[in-house]
């Protein structure tokens, strides 16, 4: 028990802070939908900036992607370049426009934006379809993160897997239900700061262990370990493309990076910024926060080769999710481990809380209220109940996770990018975009994602490295443009369009 004291203490302080933030905002969040769903669009830019970064980066980044570099070498850092570029695109192209249009339209969720912006006979169907997509695709994502955190608790603190999963989901659900968007954003900001610090600490570990920068790079320049294919790695860790193909880097870089321009959990961040100064701060600093953390994390696995002997490397190359845990165990410093574990939990919980709120608002604000409208306070109460019920569902899935949850998680990112982006971008920039274009591009994008994934990618030789996001995104965007042109008669009134584009 005493050996777990530093980690337990760090985790308890962190959890108490999260619950405290939720408790502090509990009254304000219960006042109505504008408070619970978008924090009355009054949150400082620096908070939203850190929240965007911590929501996008999760345990998948800090454990999965960091470990992937063990097999792929330092070339894996190019994935981080694409992610940083999409972060910039998201804030430059979508941030200010989405904030202004949604405030003007009174939109508080992404599905209701489609409804209010397009105003066509298919608007309600588009809203319901996008809400259902959120409810379905998010389930796998949340289960994947809860599973990762529960395994971490089991490994580090010997907490049984089921109890760990219940604890992580229970605590996150509690502060989300208490403070709505207020507590999600403020806890995300705290978690973002912790994640930045932990990224810097983690990248220092292999260098300190090896005795300096020069010493580590001399080791990495020629290692005796073998690759996943059984070939000697030699100088592959520091040679571009030696251990991983450019198309694979492009596929993961696009499919995950594009979440920032399409996933509701990221986009809804824009709704809550208080003013122009806050927006400008976030536009500049969010790519910096993400870029710094990715510089530290995306090549980390490759650096860990300097800490592993041949036998350990042979195991880790086939189990890259265990690379970060191995690094902490090998470094064997209780305080460093405690700080890193708390940071890894922060990475998981920040993403979990954000998606919990999104599923609650989609289930009640965009589905139940569409069928039977409720008052403000009743909607908030129902949303809280939906978040709690969905968390129980995720827990059940986490206890018996189907094979390939991690794969399904990355697949859900492609569904959002292909399904949502054309309708969002077109809604913000193209006056001639129509509700029919939005609805059909959403359906076609999702169908193309499924088709490529399950009918082409792993069935047709040579297609394995071409991620479904690439063909599905092109098809969906093309469908939006073509169908919008063909259904010009379904455009909203000129007066409505003038008002939307004046916001």
């Amino acid at each position: 028990m005493t050996e777990h004291l530093p980690v337990m203490s760090a985790l308890l302080v962190y959890l108490a802070a999260c619950i405290g933030i939720g408790w502090y905002f509990r009254r304000r969040a219960s006042r109505g939908v504008d408070d619970f769903y978008v924090a009355r669009r009054s949150v400082p830019g620096w908070v939203v900036s850190l929240a965007f970064f911590s929501t996008f980066a999760s345990t998948n980044t800090y454990i999965g992607q960091a470990g992937q570099a063990f097999a792929s070498g330092l070339s894996w850092a190019w994935v981080g370049v694409l992610w940083t570029a999409f972060c910039m695109v998201s804030w430059l192209l979508l941030g200010p426009r989405l904030r202004n249009q949604t405030a003007g339209l009174g939109s508080v969720t992404i599905p209701d934006y489609f409804d209010f912006r397009y105003r066509s006979s298919l608007s309600k169907a588009t809203r319901a379809l996008s809400a259902l997509t959120i409810l379905f695709a998010t389930l796998w994502y949340m289960a994947g993160i809860a599973k990762g955190c529960a395994h971490l608790l089991e490994t580090v603190l010997s907490v049984p897997y089921a109890w760990g999963a219940a604890a992580i989901l229970g605590f996150t659900c509690l502060y989300t239900v208490l403070g709505g968007m207020y507590s999600v954003l403020w806890t995300d900001a705290v978690q973002g700061l912790m994640m930045l610090a932990v990224a810097l600490v983690m990248v220092a570990i292999p260098f300190v262990h090896a005795g300096g920068v020069g010493a580590l790079f001399r080791k990495l320049a020629s290692v005796s370990h073998v690759s996943a294919a059984g070939e000697p790695i030699g100088d592959g860790l520091v040679t571009f493309g030696a251990l991983v193909s450019v198309t694979y880097i492009l596929g993961i870089g696009l499919s995950v990076g594009m979440k920032q321009i399409a996933e509701p959990r990221c986009l809804v961040r824009f709704y809550s910024i208080d003013n122009a100064a806050g927006m400008r701060f976030a536009m500049i600093w969010t790519p910096v926060f993400l870029g710094v953390s990715l510089v530290c994390v995306m090549g980390l696995g490759a650096l860990v080769h300097g800490m592993a002997d041949d036998q350990e490397a042979a195991y880790l190359i086939r189990n890259t999710d265990e690379v970060v845990g191995f690094m902490l165990a090998k470094f064997d410093n209780a305080v460093v481990t405690a700080v890193c574990i708390a940071g890894l939990f922060a990475a998981g919980m920040s993403s979990l809380a954000s998606v919990m709120l999104i599923v609650g608002t989609a289930a009640v604000g965009d589905l139940l209220n569409l069928w039977r409208p409720r008052g403000q306070r009743s909607t908030v109460r129902w949303t809280k109940a939906a978040i709690a019920a969905y968390s129980v569902l995720v827990l059940l899935l986490t206890l018996r996770p189907p094979a390939g949850v991690v794969e399904l998680t990355s697949f859900s990112g492609a569904v959002f990018a292909a399904g949502f982006f054309p309708a969002i971008f077109g809604g913000l920039y193209l006056k001639w975009g129509t509700g029919h274009g939005a609805f059909w591009s959403m359906l076609i994008g999702m169908a193309a994602t499924l088709l490529w994934r399950f009918g082409v990618r792993f069935s047709v030789p040579g297609m394995q490295d071409i991620h479904e996001i690439i063909p599905a995104f092109c098809v969906s965007l093309g469908a939006y443009l073509a169908i919008s042109r063909m259904t010009a008669s379904h455009r909203p009134s000129q007066e409505h369009l003038e008002r939307v584009f004046s916001y």
């Binding site: 370049v81 940083t84 570029a85 339209l105 208080d274 003013n275 122009a276 927006m279 916001y503």
Partner: protein, 40 residues
């Protein structure tokens, strides 16, 4: 480390620097927070 591999780290630094430069030259307009209204 070869040039292309090192280039990833340089590219991230260049991207965030260019982004900051662009944003400082952009006119950013955001309506104040509490003035939300429902048109629909």
């Amino acid at each position: 480390m070869d040039l292309l591999t090192a280039g990833a780290y340089v590219a991230i630094a260049v991207l965030v620097a260019v982004n900051a430069w662009v944003v400082t030259r952009l006119e950013v307009d955001v309506r104040p927070g509490d003035e939300t209204r429902r048109d629909s």
